[in-house]
Subunit: 221 residues, 2 copies
């Protein structure tokens, strides 16, 4: 009985890593679609979001099944509850990558981001990809150094998010209302992406250290 | 033992209703703060968001404790898992109400919403308040008619969200970039508020009917 349970629990862990890899791929490709005005790639990101949603459903069912069949306690219980929460959070990260791709597709063949804001979004996308990469690594290794670095990437995202406001509100801003809207939404999507990454990192930290405070210290969003 | 469990389970239900009432109050006051440029009220909404966050933590701890101590199965297990998810969703709704209040506070003594978009936001806030009211009612009565009406309120929010884009992108739009940014973000906050309400309604529907599909049919966000 215990062996089956252990195998199921490992599968939950593997599914989370797989989900994180899909999110990593989605945000990486969404950023390229946005910055290169690549319609085909944008389509692919939008179409592949369903795979992340499906994996979340599978994972949730497995967790609920484990809770019902095995009545786990202590660490096992925490692992399963954490998995349920992390999968919901990563599903949202997939949605946000899709939203970036949707803006890229909606403006095609034009660039959604005007030249004056391009560098900010190059950096934002890099930071978001780093968040996703460290999330995958953290899920695989539970090395808390990844969690610390992920928080730094998110700090950078927050600073860059402020830069997007500084850009659209500066007297030099010559963007159209459409560009103002897009830069505002894209900034928000990337910023939320980072916040969700931090939420995942804190839940893993909670799992590793048992420090409940770490989990409930929310990023100010 | 069963009696204590039943009492704890009732407390979870009561906490969810209380949380929903706080969200209802937050969005109602945030809307007034926004539309009346009421700085004092905006401050109150921002300050009181902590109460929602605290209630979420309390509720989560109670649920995890129940899972660990009682190893519930079947309906009891579903109730507790659903409560965990709903509390996380309502916590986000509180954040979104706070964000509306933050924009109101940030523009004070000016109005954040220009006259040309005012009517749209009057309607958006009404719809969002209705979403919150029906959510409270649904949690208290589990009457699925509330869930159906909540979905209609959300449909209205989605349509109004499109109106905000139509406004800022119309040739008649004379708003400043700051107003374009604010209208874009406010529209997004209200739209997300509605989506979260729908998510809560679907989880309750799942609980009442046992229809797993209803829960996983996501609003397109």
């Amino acid at each position: 009985m215990r062996e089956i349970f252990e195998a199921e629990l490992r599968q939950v862990g593997d599914d989370l890593i797989e989900m994180s890899r899909l999110v990593e791929s989605a945000i990486t490709r969404a950023g390229t679609a946005l910055l290169e005005a690549d319609h085909q790639l944008a389509q692919e990101v939008i179409a592949s979001d369903h795979a992340i949603d499906r994996l979340e459903s599978t994972l949730d069912e497995r967790c609920v099944h484990l809770l019902a069949q095995q009545a786990p306690v202590a660490t096992d219980l925490r692992v399963i509850i954490t998995a349920l929460r992390i999968s919901a959070t990563m599903e949202r990260m997939g949605d946000l990558a899709r939203h970036v791709a949707e803006i890229a597709r909606g403006r095609y063949p034009a660039q959604a981001v005007p030249p004056s804001a391009r560098e900010t979004f190059v950096k934002m996308n890099d930071a978001a990809v780093h968040v996703a990469q460290r999330m995958t690594s953290l899920l695989a290794t539970r090395d808390l150094e990844d969690a610390a670095q992920l928080e730094q990437d998110d700090d950078l995202l927050d600073a860059l998010h402020q830069d997007t406001f500084a850009a659209t509100l500066s007297p030099e801003w010559t963007g159209t209302p459409q560009q103002t809207v897009d830069v505002t939404l894209l900034g928000r999507y990337y910023e939320r992406f980072g916040d969700h990454g931090v939420s995942v990192a804190r839940r893993i930290t909670f799992l590793v250290t048992g420090d409940f405070e770490a989990e409930h210290a929310r990023p100010e969003v």
